[in-house]
């Protein structure tokens, strides 16, 4: 090196940048400025990446209901990010309260919920509270199938206003005029044709080779579903099962699970020897299985009471393949509630209320 050797730099303060500061005449201020300019971007970068590294975790991790907001003052949600795991999950929950439905995630399997519905006074109420439930579930696709000749404006409007991801189908169960005027063909259990139409739609829409993971669940419009149920079924590989309350004349019906975690029977009183003694709300099927077995449908005719579910499941899976959920079938996450038929005595023959007001 032929350059003049720089004189010894001024004492300690600038010692750290001795190797970096090339110019002899650089004043101290500039040295400090240089340090700041070097250190600052890294500090900010690290902070930002720390935050963003945590955020992807939040979308995957579903709170297991352990966090609750107790009585606080008004609008107390000033929790900061990153103080602790518990706080972060609380923040996420708060955000999702007011964002409906939750943002679509690329990693969660889609839950295709098939709901047959038919027109009656409580229909709008049932669908409203069902929608309020579904609005909490990420990656939910609601397939609503009306038992009607045409898609009704009531349902179309309701679906649109919820903001949910939905598909609106319809198929009318043929009536049997030989019986009372309005009786549907009694040999076809209610909802069967509608569920089958949904299965057909799924098979026409998704190809078996597609990598989009999905779960199919049959949810009637008068049952009650906990949010935990949907997270339990998301990990279904073939067919998963769990207990259902208020069916079969019992507090609940449940699969029998042995110590190895395999289903070996059914804890029911009503015909426990059915191939699958389970209610429609008590199982979910992986979409891939539905697509690989395109012949599997609910049997339309000649099905004994309580055998409907078996008519589909026996084409899809054996007892051994069933995956028990809900803590090895010890927790109730779905209730087979039924809504009373409202007594409309005061309407009289001509109708007392304005028929244009939608209920």
């Amino acid at each position: 090196m032929s350059s003049p050797h720089p004189p010894p730099p001024p004492p300690r303060r600038c010692a750290v940048i001795r190797g970096l500061s090339p110019m002899v005449e650089m004043p101290k201020r500039r040295d400090i400025l240089a340090i700041v300019l070097i250190v600052l971007p890294w500090t900010l970068l690290i902070t930002v990446w720390h935050q963003s590294a945590i955020t992807p975790l939040l979308t995957i991790r579903k709170d297991d209901g352990a966090e609750g907001r107790h009585e606080t003052g008004q609008g107390s949600d000033s929790k900061e990010y990153c103080s602790s795991d518990k706080d972060i999950v609380e923040v996420v929950r708060t955000e999702y309260v007011y964002t409906r439905p939750p943002p679509w995630s690329d990693v969660l399997p889609t839950i295709h919920v098939v709901t047959p519905t038919y027109s009656r006074p409580v229909q709008k109420a049932e669908l409203t509270r069902l929608a309020n439930t579904f609005l909490h579930v990420p990656n939910l696709h609601w397939i609503l199938v009306e038992d009607a000749q045409r898609r009704t404006p009531l349902v179309s409007r309701l679906l649109r206003e919820t903001g949910l991801n939905y598909t609106h189908l319809n198929v009318e169960t043929p009536r049997n005029y030989k019986l009372r005027g309005d009786a549907r063909d009694p040999r076809i259990p209610r909802g069967t044709m509608q569920r089958n139409l949904a299965l057909r739609w799924l098979r026409e829409t998704f190809s078996p080779n597609s990598t989009q993971p999905g779960i199919v669940y049959f949810a009637d419009d008068d049952n009650t579903y906990s949010l935990e149920l949907f997270e339990e079924m998301r990990s279904t590989r073939k067919v998963s099962v769990w207990p259902v309350a208020f069916v079969g004349g019992l507090r609940y019906e449940s699969p029998k699970v042995n110590a190895a975690g395999k289903v070996y029977g059914w804890k029911t009183v009503f015909d426990p020897h059915r191939p699958f003694a389970i209610d429609m709300a008590g199982f979910a099927v992986n979409l891939r299985l539905i697509l690989y077995k395109p012949q599997a449908y609910f049997k339309l005719r000649g099905v004994k009471g309580g055998y409907q579910e078996s008519s589909l499941l026996r084409e899809l899976v054996t007892l051994n393949d069933l995956e028990p959920k809900a803590a090895n079938c010890t927790k109730i996450l779905v209730w087979h509630t039924r809504t009373e038929k409202p007594v409309l005595v005061n309407e009289g023959k001509k109708g007392f209320t304005d028929p244009n007001v939608e209920i």
């Binding site: 971007p41 007011y98 964002t99 409202p342």
Partner: protein, 301 residues
Amino acid sequence: MRLRFKLKTVFILYFTVSLLGLIYALMHLGKLHSLQGHTKKEPTKPHLPTIYVITPTYARLVQKAELTRLSQTFLHVPQLHWIVVEDSSQRTDLVSHFLEHSGLVFTHLHIPTPQDRKLQEGDPNWLKPRGVEQRNEGLRWLRENIWAGETAEGVVYFADDDNTYSLQLFEEMRWTQRVSVWPVGLVGGMRYEGPVVEQGRVVRFHTGWRPSRPFPLDMAGFATSLRLVLRNPEARFDGNSPMGFVESSFLQGLVTMEELEPKAEMCTKVLVWHTRTEKPKMKREEALQAQGLGSDSKVEV
């Protein structure tokens, strides 16, 4: 000379890279925020009046199911404070655990209905008014715990645990000044029951049953401003009032029909339904229990 040049370049290069990385990271962070939709700012909406929902409840098979789906509706409503009052001499574990895990802001109270006011097995459900003591207990708690200052902004709504509520209903009632009203579906033996509005005022009530009542409304068909509740400490529900007059017993001292604020597009839309849940058939369960083989009672239903 060469060394000096090299160091300077290194420094500039390093600085540029850091700056670019920082800009990229900041953009990424901005993207994340927009992905999450409403940010933390949304919940801290200032001055949104709180909706105090008073729900009487009692232990029966479908209780947990009813509370579950009710909470799923309430979770969508900002600034909601749920006051659950059990018809019981003490707080039950089922309701306590449920509320703790619900994610809602809640108050858990309890008060038993006196025996002579309770419905007996086999009584039709219209025989005695239900939930009166519990609603009054909710009112008492509000009066003792919420300060009646100038800024007492809020609204009180009595929501039974088996009805169905749309989300829009809560936004309709939030800005109630005195008492607001709207139609209720599937009640009074009709498709819906509700006030009739002419020129922005309630002139009469559309109901098929005893229209001569001062306020022929269902419990789910009105909401009261918090200020009115706090300023009238004597206003409460009278359990001794005749069938269908319970609502009137509360509203009579508070407001006149002319002062009612009609909501739900001048009372032409139904935003709440008086649904009732069937009692589940337990014949087989009872038969099993007689044999000592009832389903596991440790499993909470």
